[in-house]
Symmetry: C2
Subunit: 291 residues, 2 copies
Amino acid sequence: MNIGIVGLGLIGGSMAIDLKRRGFAHKVVGVETEPVNAAAARQIGLVDKIVTLEECVAESDIVVLAVPVGAAAKLLSKVLDAYQAVQEGPDSYGAGEKVVIDVCSTKEMLAESVKCHPCRKHYVATHPMAGTEYSGPWAAMSGMFDGHACIICDPEDSCPEAVAKVEALYDTLNMRVIRMESANHDVHTAYVSHISHVTSFALALTVLDKENDEKHIFDLASGGFSSTVRLAKSSPDMWTPILKQNKDNVLHVMDTYIEKMNAFRQAIADGDEKTIRTLIEEANRIRRIIR
Amino acid sequence: MNIGIVGLGLIGGSMAIDLKRRGFAHKVVGVETEPVNAAAARQIGLVDKIVTLEECVAESDIVVLAVPVGAAAKLLSKVLDAYQAVQEGPDSYGAGEKVVIDVCSTKEMLAESVKCHPCRKHYVATHPMAGTEYSGPWAAMSGMFDGHACIICDPEDSCPEAVAKVEALYDTLNMRVIRMESANHDVHTAYVSHISHVTSFALALTVLDKENDEKHIFDLASGGFSSTVRLAKSSPDMWTPILKQNKDNVLHVMDTYIEKMNAFRQAIADGDEKTIRTLIEEANRIRRIIR
């Protein structure tokens, strides 16, 4: 199978490596408009060749849109339009079997944007829940997806053959596939992914604000601080549109979070050991869920 | 040298393992009043024998108080009293060269509590900044301290020989020793350690509160969420007294943190992409400091 990857960053690049290495892809072509990233991808050898979006659509059985969610919406329409043009035109290259997927962290607005597209069934909405705090082609690595969950949203809106192909792709990446509605997806990811990025950004801002002596932060940061603040290294290109698109869900979770912080603050201000202990014991219940 | 460790949990147990294994300690005795922990320490073979506090003081050149900060204050007075009794009594076992250290995360109140003790110079205040989110003797492990920083507070209040012995001990554990005043220590640890525990507890409470379906948390939690929430597994026995003793510093940092969260909240509520991006870019500066 030929795979086309649009956006050769952490996610797209890591997919390119393992889909080729594990034999799922016969050929991997890539689209990368950022010249530095394109040069790096070429140098690392992430893909067989760098092509234009049009070439990518023409040459690939599956097109993966691995770009931030704002850009993905525009590209998704373009790719579906291209599928439609080919189906209606004389020069059919078998667009009927082609599939396009995205890998974005928010789903509802994207789903909404192509809801009525005649080629909607060729699109499968996916969210492979894996990554690191680094970005760019040099951050791509083999094995990054192994053992993590991948959500396929609204599979009933895609044709079964397209979903089956995409499941085979994620099976190659050793991911557990979970099916879910877009709207539900966005609620759950606000809870378990988006809020932890916001808390991490706020933590970094606090420490950078209070601790003017960077040497002290470096010296005193033990493993605990490093792991809590790790996500604060995440890219604004990726996270600005996520926080914008998932606004309502994120605000709802942030409000609960700020409530919990205020409860802690009050207990500490009151010197109320019993309440502090109770709050910590309740938080400890996360042990049963996250190992 | 003979080492006595009071409290055979994560910190005490890990010290026991490496001080013996690396030849710094000829003999390691342990005090553990919690029967289950004592039995576990015996079974794992963390120490050569379990003894009473009195035996520990009598047999050890260095006594390590590896218990939560509230208990440490009481034990520290007891040990210094015992040193004093021996110095004044007829049955001298060389108390003049004995040293007691604590390993607590807050320092000012502890320093204050023994400020006028006649044997103050036998006490060295230390804070090895290493650990995991687990506790108890079964969490103890070799190499846990390697490469991390250890703060020695107010070394001028201890006798130079005692400080030298303690530095040799931490050198065996491969720690970088930093000297600092107690009051300063408590300000800095509020910034880089205590606040990240509070944000992690609040995150766990939020997710547990909003996401009633635990299966979903488990399924959707990617590496990012796990690392941010990791510290929420930390023990209430350890953290309740820390948050109480370092109250003023912690409240000050929490206020800044809540301000930053509210700034984020406002920007997201306003759909103000420019401000969201600026906040994330500022937070990204942590990249230069934490690898």
